[in-house]
Assembly symmetry: C2
Amino acid sequence: MTYCVAMRLADGLVFASDSRTNAGFDQISTFRKMHVFEQPGERELVLLSAGNLATSQSVISLLERRAGTDIANVLNTASMFETAEIVGQTMREVIKRDNPDGKLHQVDFSCSLILGGQIKGESHRLFNIYPEGNFIEATEETPYFQIGESKYGKPIIDRIVNFQTTLDRAYQCALISFDSTMKSNLSVGMPLDVAIYRKDGLKPCFTDRVEEQCDYFHTLRQQWHQGIQELFSSLEPPGLG
Amino acid sequence: MTYCVAMRLADGLVFASDSRTNAGFDQISTFRKMHVFEQPGERELVLLSAGNLATSQSVISLLERRAGTDIANVLNTASMFETAEIVGQTMREVIKRDNPDGKLHQVDFSCSLILGGQIKGESHRLFNIYPEGNFIEATEETPYFQIGESKYGKPIIDRIVNFQTTLDRAYQCALISFDSTMKSNLSVGMPLDVAIYRKDGLKPCFTDRVEEQCDYFHTLRQQWHQGIQELFSSLEPPGLG
């Protein structure tokens, strides 16, 4: 499984993904699920992927191979909307290649993607691209998307993040969301990849690979866990009749 | 959907369930998912159910109809283990009645159950009964089971509850677990049913129906939400390069 989250905030975009891939419990690997396409001054795009690794890798490979050619590709679109269309279309193409008759198999070929970024001339935007290749866009009321193993880490985001949340606080919340997820589910694992895009910069994202031994993350996890226990103890328990 | 949780602790057992049932988004109802079988001084049994309501209602009806008769039933078993066997067998019987050829249908006939309680002569015990009718038992290392929409509310239980947690604190933690779940998922809804069994009493559980306007729950939710936000703000955010 996988867990990825991305947020579109007033100040920019925050992306985070884990790196665990498993085909059964005895075949666990580390794969990066975050891919960046950039043309400084022109566009900055980040893609997060969850689901079938063969599908998502093929989608990324095709997007990379076509970037810079004459055909419509992620580096020559005029808008994030068009970019999302190309990514969705490429996903349909790969799934059709691997499952041409569209039959139900024991294997699930589908994957989900999050696409975010900014193209010169428009604002920063964020899209959730479904396995069918169609997509929805984040708004101020719903400023974040999750894909993969998303439920464990959703409550903390719902309590903390809104469109006005600053980029550093949103990054901090994403790390706590990953901590809660990894505590409860073995299929999401370290290291984490993080990318933070400050709006209108059209400059490469701040990126980080958060490893198990990362000081900041280690301290945050400890302080959060202890803080939750102290908060819990500070509240009055219910009476038992 | 549904969310139920039950914990087996040193002092006894804590059970909680929501009451929302939905067949599609336009057919939402309130059904109790907690059922008690009792013989004061002899046994106290609590069943929680999630999944297909037709299946779980039939299972409960058959268990009730047979209780007190001469055939093996939940009121004449000598152990919790035998009781779990009867419940599992009854579930298989109902699923076979409704889906005799065992074919895959568009409708999912399955349900999951949690059975906990105590029978005179042995300790208090807790079982998670799978849709196939087989079951596992809680231990000191793994003192709780969840069924239904369990992921949102799992991290807080993993952070707080262990075998030594007191009954009132475990009840408090279950309420927070429901709060987190209901904030993020519409298919789990109020009111909640709670039952608390103090071990070796062989007396009826303390029970409560927690409604939306319940003072304690309302205050707890507010204090928890505010406490989480304050804890989050008190921790240093990460640097952005």
